[in-house]
Symmetry: C2
Subunit: 304 residues, 2 copies
Amino acid sequence: MAKAQQVTVVGSAALDTLITPHGSVEDILGGSVSFIGAIGGLFVPFNIVSVVGDDFPMHEYGFLRERNVNLDGLEIAPGKTFRWSGKYHDNMNIRDTLSTSLGVFADFQPHLPVLARDAKYLLLANINPELQLQVLDQMSAPKLVAFDTMNLWINAARETVLEVIGRVDIVIVNDEEINLLTGESSLFAGALKLTMMGPSYVVVKKGEHGSILVGKKGVPFICPAFPIADPVDPTGAGDTFAGAMIGYLAATDDVGFFNLRQAIVYGTIAASFTVEDFGLNRLKSITIDDIEERFRLFRAMVEF
Amino acid sequence: MAKAQQVTVVGSAALDTLITPHGSVEDILGGSVSFIGAIGGLFVPFNIVSVVGDDFPMHEYGFLRERNVNLDGLEIAPGKTFRWSGKYHDNMNIRDTLSTSLGVFADFQPHLPVLARDAKYLLLANINPELQLQVLDQMSAPKLVAFDTMNLWINAARETVLEVIGRVDIVIVNDEEINLLTGESSLFAGALKLTMMGPSYVVVKKGEHGSILVGKKGVPFICPAFPIADPVDPTGAGDTFAGAMIGYLAATDDVGFFNLRQAIVYGTIAASFTVEDFGLNRLKSITIDDIEERFRLFRAMVEF
């Protein structure tokens, strides 16, 4: 068994106010690094790099410390924490942003502590691509870099996004983003086009319809979603997917295509827990054994 | 190896006029029994029961005879063949019916020849549920009956549809139909509810998102679709799916849950060929070896 490696994740820490068909919650823990740390810490030590305001309820991150999540790279700046508010439709694939208050996140400048710089695995969660470039410049010698973004940055800073894509190993996108980036309406054609721009692999997230993994050559991997009959809150599902994926890769320290398939399945399973309750509630209550058990159940659901 | 069994299929034979983003075609061979016979005949002998008008280009069914499809149950009645015309949107999951002319199909009364009555496998394709009951009454002793319908019949003849469902083994539905039948918006909850109404298994077709197979107990089977980058015409994909599924079951004469999973995958593969060209064009050109080859490729795409 290979030696488990550490992961560094750079992204947002936020307080979310959410309305879903199942109810509403106010100012709960959110942001990509919260979800990624919560799930990833079950696999290997994670180094979080982000910023919160002095209004942030830091004690609520206590469970992250217990999961081997290092918060030395989490800056506490004078001012307000980034807040996002959204409302999900009955079809929870559709959501409206009600408000966004960047607060201290507007002036975020990532400064990586030594441990974070030396990590072999890096996850660039969705932030301004200029900051993602700064992070890449600070890293010592990462073995694998995974990257997430959103339509906002592709539209506002396309060239910078493409520059980041040229420097990473795995790009994680949804159908809208792949269409914006490549002009292709076919996910497979778009994913293949993206691999020509630098990354070895492209992961396309399709929400309740699963995900696909495409490399520069060879057959793609098609992964259905784990079925959840009555999802409560989809917030963070994509971040959880990415966090478990890179967490499993770091735990096994194997970036081959077959191991990446396993990592995608772990991401799928992790995301299925997230949507079962609001925010981090479900992730807080699970163990690695719960993940392994659902992994086995999933295999039983897809084998033929 | 079990002895291969025959299949009887009762459904529509039609002439289709189609408009898709890839072009348009006029009065081409269509209807459920055409697609089902074309694919099913690659697995085992099929007995077709349907009706066409005296304007039907019977010579175009020549390739069906070569595939062991028995046309003795295909009545030729004075009058016009059933015609359907539809237009597919850019998102080919959505289609508008432009016109429907029932012709001789309006007075269709299924009369099963002896061979058709004695078949061990029966596929009730989408027709008036009153006729489906008549077919069930004529069958000698089928080992397995699979059933398809559409929203039209569920709305217009709900009680009769439910009566048929109570007498079959496998119900094949899409998301809209399962919602109409059970009131459930969750596919899994709806499918489970349907199994309480009689059938041992429910297959839910999700088009480009694959299908699921749910039994009265045990874990469900989740099957993604085989990816086709640029589908030309989705007409008949669902019929082809059902035809290959029951064809494989009859060829192996094994109706156990694990073999049913394999049958679903054969259905998935068969449907992926259908959408590659208009109408029956692609199905006409394939062999069972083509199906087996794509089956192996599919396995390579989903294993982890």
